[in-house]
Symmetry: C2
Subunit: 338 residues, 2 copies
């Protein structure tokens, strides 16, 4: 026993932080506990989250959920990081078109590439979804998965957000990173379920959110096994395989995760169906919507937005008992670097 | 400290089992260690597996792999459980056709259903893959995901293997279950990557292999979000969404897991491409083929088999340094119940 007792003795300090994370610890006096969700103000929103986690992890309680079933899913754009003035992945597409332009002289006169090269986003918008898909294929397909991974990784290392100039990876919401940590400390398995491209996101989710590649569900293009120079690779094809948005989200969750989550966070009508699906379950469940109400510290938008439109889901949040998080009043701090 | 010391005191016995699992423990004298992979004979196959696990988990060694990258993937049919005299999922389809027959009087004269109802598997085989797909759609689609889950769960609870009469879930290979445990004890994350239907397998993988639903990759049909009686559900459609076999396996791994495994086990040419893809990596990697050589205790088959044909992969195993496991000589015991 000597060795084990010695090891115990060297464990530093009381297990207060771990204990408070694991229980929600709302029974301790405020001064005595390491405050969970520190970037959240002391509002009803924070309390509802803590109460739910506490209920699901209290063994013997009526809201208890076994650890294996504690699956939590998060939309990405507008829920975990900024989606204004445009989706970050669109920022990648715009930069990539500029990088590739010398190899494509025809783009100077071909829409929507010509608009992008001229910095005319309204011109790009005129081409609608068809134009965006065309740009997506030109920038996301035609290389191997390893090559694409490197292109995206290199881009994230230097590309700056158009308004703040910060790295895009610094546009993640600190309160949500804290929520992810808090859920994991309570044995929740955290997933991203996003309309964004799965291989695009996977390059940074571990670093930014602590979410490994295998816990990212997203839209994807098809790949094809091929032997190139004697080595087996996967080649990315200009063909959409799966759109993980709207009604595609519950289908994507079923496909990739294979069981129903009990916690869901979104911010737009693209999350509506998965929120309905999760909250229709018989057992304990929790849904939250991030409402972008802070035009000073971030952006204020909902019903009229081109990116992350929040309309129907906001109308129904009350009667469905979905928590609406008001960024302006519920969040003490939005970005780690602000 | 009192409570924690008391808890420690109640931990029973020395941590020898855990320690030997975690290190491979080949340095300990044989009598002192809890023998890992107990149903494997002391052959070169067992030693190669242990050596690889030991190398990947020895911090500072040249073969070391960080825990997050320790992804191990297993084919299912013929690798983790029996696939003779036919795939277990085909057994489900045959039984299901009989169960549904009263609702489908037209099946009495319609192939391939008529052959199935007459117990004529050769007649079914005559219809080829097209016939099998038709039966698959008739038995796997048209219900919600929850309903399908219940149908399969109920079937597994009572259906018996045609030769042994045992539950199909008892047709899992004990040495492979031990290998899964051994890998997990060494911080490997274990996945199934199978040509079988993902929602079919997910009903039993946790119980049979200790693999949760979210770590099962397989073939799938499309699902569609729908509101039925006011509740959101996913309806299974008679439409193939993804075939996770042959060149589809590396694509499936990339799609669902998003990083390259370092350990792969298969048993047929349907596993060839994923084995090539995994073993073409620069870092440490390991591939093994289960060779069905034991006609007495299980089945003996390879190049001519209708299910689990092993031909090209067997020819190339030597020069690609893939371990070929000889079931007859390498496995002390095949099934837990034998």
């Amino acid at each position: 026993m000597t060795l084990r007792m010695t090891r115990r003795t060297f464990v530093k300090g009381p297990p207060l932080v771990a204990a408070s994370l694991a229980t929600g610890a709302t029974d301790l006096p405020a001064a005595a506990q390491d405050r969970v969700l520190p970037s959240w103000n002391d509002t009803a929103a924070r309390q509802r989250i803590i109460d739910f986690i506490k209920a699901t992890t209290t063994d013997g309680g009526e809201g208890y959920v076994a650890p294996a079933d504690r699956i939590a899913i998060f939309d990405n754009d507008g829920t975990l990081w900024s989606e204004q003035p445009f989706y970050i992945q669109l920022g990648f597409m715009l930069d990539r078109v500029k990088t590739l332009a010398p190899e494509h002289p025809e783009w100077k006169t071909k829409e929507p590439f010509a608009s992008i090269l001229a910095g005319d986003l309204k011109g790009l918008a005129k081409g609608g979804e068809k134009g965006i898909v065309e740009v997506g294929m030109a920038t996301h397909a035609g290389m191997t998965t390893d090559e694409f991974n490197k292109i995206v990784t290199d881009w994230f290392a230097t590309a700056g957000h158009p308004k703040t100039g910060r790295l895009y990876t610094d546009m993640a919401y600190l309160p949500m990173r804290e929520l992810l940590d808090y859920l994991r400390a309570n044995d929740f398995k955290t997933y991203i379920v996003s309309g964004g491209g799965v291989e695009f996101m996977r390059t940074i989710t571990e670093k930014v959110y602590g979410i490994p590649p295998e816990q990212v569900v997203g839209s994807m293009i098809a790949t094809e096994y091929a032997i190139i120079d004697g080595l087996p690779v996967l080649r990315r094809l200009p063909k959409i395989d799966f759109v993980d948005d709207g009604p595609g989200k519950p289908a994507g969750i079923n496909k990739f995760i294979g069981r129903k989550p009990i916690f869901v966070a979104g911010n737009s009508d693209g999350d509506y169906e998965m929120m309905r699906w999760v909250t229709a379950a018989n057992g304990p469940n929790f849904a939250m919507l991030i409402h972008h109400t802070d035009g000073d510290r971030e952006y204020a938008y909902d019903r009229q937005s081109a990116f992350g439109k929040l309309d129907k889901a906001l109308d129904e949040a009350g009667r469905r008992n979905w928590l609406v998080v008001d960024m302006k009043s519920d969040w003490k701090k939005i970005f780690a670097l602000e």
